[in-house]
């Protein structure tokens, strides 16, 4: 490779992964929910990825989000994957954050036996738990949890 080309690749064309899982998860454990705001279209992407989820743009800024949103759907899981039998029953929810994106996590502090359609549209705030991982996972993974405001 020509040295000038190599230098240009590094300085101008190379698109760095702005917010990795490791950094996103580390912030979550410190009480911060990070996302990526697109300078092109203004939309926020979270969970983070290389490009804006709306327009595919790569000009993104890391922003701290409000950690507030509404439940859009949920389920109570009674059949667990291998190694997670001790967690059932648990509630998984998808939450629409105030900033627009949806994220997945567990609803906590609520009796799964009472989970019904009226959970939808309830206001929640985002915290975290740490999934310790299993033999197929790459170690500890911080994951969002939701509780009522």
């Amino acid at each position: 490779m020509h040295p000038d080309y190599a230098e240009r690749l590094v300085k101008e064309d190379k698109v760095e992964y702005k917010l990795t899982f490791k950094d996103y998860a580390k912030a979550l454990t410190k009480g911060k929910l990070l996302g990526l705001k697109c300078r092109g279209c203004g939309n926020v992407t979270v969970p983070p990825k290389m490009t804006c989820q709306e327009c595919g743009g790569t000009d993104l800024d890391i922003v701290e989000l409000s950690k507030r949103g509404k439940i859009v759907t949920f389920t109570v899981v009674n059949v667990a994957p291998e190694g997670r039998q001790n967690e059932v029953p648990y509630i998984i929810a998808l939450v629409r954050l105030d900033e627009g994106p949806w994220i997945m996590g567990n609803l906590i502090g609520f009796d799964p036996a009472r989970a019904a359609m009226d959970l939808i549209d309830k206001d929640v705030t985002v915290g975290f738990r740490v999934f310790p991982g299993d033999k197929y996972s790459p170690g500890d993974q911080a994951s969002p949890v939701f509780s009522f405001v």
Binding site: P47, K49, V79, A93, W102
Partner: protein, 390 residues
Amino acid sequence: MRKVAIVGTGHTPFTFETEKTSIELFSEAAMDAINEATLKPKDIQALYLGNCLGDFSEGQAMLQSYAANDIGAFHIPATRFEGACASSSLAIRDAFIWVASGYYDMVLAGGVERAASMGTSLATRTFAMFTDSHYEYPAGLTFPAMFAMLTHLYAKKYGVPLEKLKEQMAQVSVQSHYYGMFNPKGQFHKEITVDNVLNGFMVCSPLQLLDCCPFSDGAAAVVLVSEDKAREITDKPVYISGIGQASSGKLSAQKDHLPRLKAREESVKQAYDMAGIGPEDIDVCELHDCFSIASLIAAESLGFFEYGTSGEAWEKGETKIGGKIPINVSGGLKSKGHPIGATGASQVAEIYHQLRGESGERQVEGAKIGLTDTLGGDGILCTLIMQKGW
């Protein structure tokens, strides 16, 4: 591009835990397909094999190479396709493209899985690998959980009371088990009632046991050949006239479009456009009913019914033989079984026999055009349209 025909299919019984290995299962399906095509293994120029979890079910990766050798198709290029539950549909689509291009004349495609052999706990864990491992699996996401969330979303978005929706979904399972009675290759041969479904064990609310397809073992295979070869082999070739494939991001990234899957809409549009037809032209359809709600969601995006109304269609019998569009008269994934790597090839085999008028008691009379819809994970979609070639 050349025309490409299917001229042979093979299909093992779909079962609970089997003692046969994945290679043994696939070889049986493959030899049936090659024999039906009146070819020999040495005629096959390439193998495209769908398999998801051989690594976990029996410690066997790279089985495509051993499978080719097993059937005596020595040293041919053999490629594995992993697209979760859509794996063998992807294999067939790629086989089509290679034969259409003129590169090959005769290709074997199909798939195999031993999901039942893994048991519910390991199968649930490994199927969950078809979700986002870092951003969604830590919450305990499983496949029934995903479709359970889509069920609540469907009820909310279309204003269908959950109780009513549940009854409509039960009707989907009841219909699949009814037609499953007539499929000797299927896993279940037992009729069920709406009450059976609504009184079943709650797997992931609101999905109960009989809303869910089973874990299954089995294999299926098809032989694809160029038009010239097809004319030498049979008077009744079935041509693939439209193909589609699309992908998606993780479930949460699909947000406001849910419970619809954008990838399905992209994939089916490609297939309809290529075939130059629309949903009104389809005579028989095999769609991806991994869960009862999945049938309702799929039938709408394929263009058969308005959004939010396909539950009524099942209730009125519009999806039965004689109805507007017969769907899953094989018994579907629900009753026939769902050995995930083999499912797409099994769907294609069903349409092949339907178009040839060979489906016995579950025959859709006069069927000329058929469609398969296969879903992998939360966002790989593959659509194949087949037409009578005579």
